[in-house]
Symmetry: D2
Subunit: 388 residues, 4 copies
């Protein structure tokens, strides 16, 4: 008996459009789903590019008019993978049309926008997910289970950094991610959002922050067209200069209501050699864990209860059977790649579409993250601790 | 204009069936191919299982009769992913039918069989590839380029190990991979073949070997059905015992004609904690490299020309742009997984279908590997160095 | 011709007494010194213990009266390795007596005390060193040279942590290091002082900070006697409880006058598995470096100028010839241990005894560190950024 | 009450002379010994050099006539740290004079010489130690305890390499270590001896071997004087060429009487970047361990009994309390260096001077190693497995 179909419209054809398309194409090939996701329509800004991308990535249809697509009766899920300034209108339109909504992170460029989005999906009674994809790494999911089970005890420290290096070169041009009107903020909202959410995911809600931000390179050349994240990108020689209106880096201290945990965060695009270095360390009364996105399938675990002469961090490969999501894939230590964070994301979303409580990050998590992002920016200006 | 289609029949539905299906499904999504591969027919032993697997993995048709499928006019490529004892009849039949042939490694259970297979594809004038998949890791492909460009200088040492641990437990049952009639040999032909081919790929043909093999556990329970490679597999409690007829481990010294290089190899399924630990180190007059499958996207590189106070092995991430295959994927250090070794394999095969000379491993490489495997077994018996 | 002798009095017989004694005993065996250090008198609190320690560690004499010893004409150098509350009276007395003074870190428990100490040594015209021992690791000294030579370019980030775990257990007793009257502060002044000084050493003076501190365990058993830093130490079962009056952990953000650099610091004794984990990472416009005390002889170095396909952090062993101090020791990669940080410290101090400008950390550095420590504590109370 | 003195004569002033002197100087400072070792006489070839070395390293007397020194009544222990061709006459003379004898490894250049030496010490009834120093690393001593306690179960694999790179450059001169008449063999006897002994130490006696050796660079310039192991050493420009009469590298397979264990060995001086890379891995039925001299204080341990979701190699720091020798040193993870392998060696030797059974490697171990070395050379010639 054929499964019920679930028609999806994706808005966005670039980096995140590619990851979402791939996750949707692969999810039913590896996981047993209650319904069959169908890659119905891909929406993009430029008709020609969108047509080519749809063909390349396996979408049935394509469109340059997201409003029309959202209005279609046959669409069940709207998946938003655009720059942050477009999230709010798209998500609210989708919710009003009764569609389930998936939206990339940060949920919006401000908490205020996120509040409106959350209100809309709640009012519409639709499902909503915010794409904090790193929650879906098997290693991270195992760590979450361990913490929930009390295996780390009381948490003393959360310490995270997300470091990249793609704009260290002053010749790298002024792409949309470096413009406040599109991206909201810089390293902070792009990669800082991931580490703040990871803290929410594993430890709990941050209640106050102290922060500093910095823009190291304040003027850059304006590029001719939209361009990707590779460090060798260049504007044309004659390009005019424009002003970088976002942070290049942010550092944050954080505290939590009702617990003594101390947290530190660093998000930067100015760390040469750190291509995509998202790491965290958690120290608890019973043990510690360390994770590093650049070795995504592993985590390190120290157990204080180990025998005295055999104590040490052990390197656990979370593709081993028994770890979340691992059984769907290959034999132990046959690694899976970055792309399957999205495959897992879609698996959880589709599997839980008819459940009352869900396991994945929702717009509430997206809003909570935006509130911390706002407090970080406020603290960076006030030079004081600020409540979330 | 639509691309010409290329119809593929895959024989095998288990581990390798799954990796090949995935690679074929993904290759045209990420790489620009001259022709469009079509997942036409999946062949398997059991009709019901094959039907289910075909549906799950995206094949248009399924069949339990590989001979019929090979005979079909509309099939362009036959891809063999079965136990080794079936490679020869299938490959020869495919060649005779004028199909291009892809065959998993080891090409056959003996060099004699491989010779017949090579003769058949040559006579038929079809393309042929032997699935030494690890050649297709971006890090390995970069190392090959470096060696070809002389960046390591004269090669002094090649040192490789492929260690696994899935049969350490005496309760693990007597699966087909532990039976000589199906698998030809044990760790030697399964994972030893990979490290021997890696040496051929990077250094050149081995000319003589000295070796020892060992079966640590000589009797195991006979399982009820075919079963996978996970270390927790068990036969039923009442299962009868059978004899393990293959090696559990092999160690090998090797030399090369016309060069002074020394090589050592170890293949074992008895290395606790080494889930899938395929490593090699190469020391040359200008530098050294190290690779480890469990950190597949990285390699380590030591350059003797580095300044005196900054010498050290550097850890290079081969998902960085410029490395082979890397541009097709994600931004730097957004890892790719094991499965894409096969995606790359199909990319090279399809791209070069009309070329006179090819870059991928052919049946000639498969035969060369089988000859070394035969010499290893001969040496293990004779307790002398044996010529390949 | 015999070298001029240099008579040394050391005050302190415990952990730091042991490291200093060893450094003094070894320094002339490996380094060519202009004068010959003589281990003249060891001073301690308890006469019996001090006598035994002097015999064990190679001191000619011993005394339980440091004031008498400082007054002796034949003493050239007074070396202070006591709890922080005793530094000021001892250092000032030594300076007044015209002795050169070496003092353990933190220089004092407050900046005010340090100011008085610095004034005293300046007035007396004697040499003074503050024992920031980690500056003397060959790897750290190489990194300093690289930064001075501009090899990292403009510094964007300094990121350091000093994590230990010896008091995680609530049964660990209330030793002097957990009492404000003796230690001044907790993790902050003990190990935080090291990472702050490392920042001063490599980047430059911190001008303002935002910080938080935390005491995770507020009551502990009072031990019967002075006891060491091992995590299994216990008070007697009947011991009374006392109050921990220092921080268990501190987290700090910092900025610098005249540069855009962002810095983060974490000092904690509550990180299970991190026995002695002093690490820092520096990201500059030309490259990055990482150091970790637990792998003391190595550092990692990323050079943006490396060829595109061979970029990566390289692991440099600073026992290789050419690195500072390395030539005195063993062949390359024959490691040296923690203890020789002190050997190097005494080497530099004695070698430069007659120089006008010195390379080692002085009381000025000690004072600068104390000023930051004071600002950290002020900020932890005020919840605002505080100027140093 | 003063301890009884133990007068030591050391022959050898170069690398090993320096390590032995340091160990003797330090051992009583850190370990509680039943007798007090006295650094009585240093013997060397050149009177002036020996005098200077004795002063520098803390010896009471010096001599260029080892025969006279051995004959002295007041000498209790003769410690031989010379090239291998001098071991036999010195050790036999010392034994005949009734002295305890310590001798560097390899015990001699052939098993025949070692036999004579063993016979001499046995006949004289003196204590004897062969300097396999790596047995004395705390991490190695812990691994030995674990194996003896059955914690690794049945041993399947021993896999070791000792790789260096100091003679890769063809301009490196023909030092004594490259001449058969002095050194006996090349990489094989120098560093190969260490890994073979490590196997004896941890697994048991090797019973047969298959091997190959290679000399990569056959002619080198003759140096003007004796010179050290640094890779930048050079002969004068006008130096004449001489023939390298030893191996540059050796590779070995080994088997054991009465057990199924397979072993592989590689000793080479031609591995760029591997400055002093002595590693081994042991795989047993209950777990695995890995050690690497370049991270001497650590070992990795995999325990098959760990919970399924937390399996992985853990990195144990053997300076943690409870590990052999560790209590004598610093707090946990305050590393010790290479030099203290010798400190531990002297500790064990002196502590056990009046015991019937000893824990350290004796001339019997030295002979056993020489027998394997001889078999390796025989096998390299015969191209067959050879019995030890």
């Amino acid at each position: 008996m054929a499964k019920k179909k679930l028609n999806i419209a994706l808005i966005g054809t670039k980096f995140m459009g590619k990851t979402h398309s791939n996750g949707l194409r692969q999810v039913s090939k590896f996981f047993d789903l209650p319904t069959e996701p169908v890659m119905k329509v891909l929406c993009g800004r430029d008709p020609g590019d969108t047509k080519a991308a749809a063909a390349q990535m396996g979408w049935e249809e394509h469109s340059a008019n997201w409003k029309e697509v959202i209005a279609r009766d046959d669409i069940d899920i709207v998946d938003i993978a655009t720059p942050g300034d477009l999230h709010k209108p798209m998500a609210i339109a989708a919710a009003k049309a009764g569609k389930h909504v998936i939206c990339e992170k940060p949920l919006a460029n401000t908490a205020k926008e996120s509040e409106a989005m959350l209100a809309a999906v709640k009012k519409a009674g639709v499902k909503h997910m915010c794409g904090f994809s790193y929650r879906f790494a098997p290693a991270v999911a195992t760590i979450k289970k361990m913490i929930r089970a009390g295996e780390l005890g009381e948490i003393f420290h959360f310490r995270a950094a997300y470091q990249q290096d793609w704009i260290v070169d002053p010749e790298f041009p002024l792409v949309w991610r470096l413009q406040k009107k599109h991206a909201g903020s810089g390293a902070l909202g792009d990669i800082g959002a991931h580490i703040l959410d990871m803290c929410h995911n594993l430890v709990g809600p941050i209640s106050e922050v102290s922060a500093a931000t910095q823009t190291f390179i304040k003027k850059r050349k304006i590029p001719d067209s939209r361009t990707g994240m590779h460090r060798s990108n260049r504007a044309s020689k004659k390009a005019k200069m424009g002003t970088v209106t976002v942070d290049d880096a942010a550092i944050v201290l954080a505290r939590f209501k009702g617990r003594n945990t101390l947290a530190t965060f660093e998000a930067t695009r100015f760390a040469p050699g750190r291509r995509n270095h998202h790491t965290f360390e958690i120290n608890g009364s019973k043990g510690s864990v360390v994770w590093d996105l650049e070795d995504m399938n592993y985590f390190q675990y120290f157990n204080r209860a180990d025998p005295d002469q055999a104590q040490g961090f052990r390197r656990v490969n979370a593709t081993d059977p028994g770890h979340p999501y691992a059984d769907a894939w290959w034999p132990p230590a046959h690694s899976i790649g970055y792309e399957h964070l999205f495959t897992h994301e879609f698996y959880d979303f589709i599997r839980e579409l008819n459940r009352k409580t869900v396991s994945y990050p929702t717009f509430e998590d997206g809003l909570q993250c935006n509130r911390v992002l706002d407090a970080v920016e406020k603290s960076a200006r006030s030079k004081k601790w600020e409540k979330v």
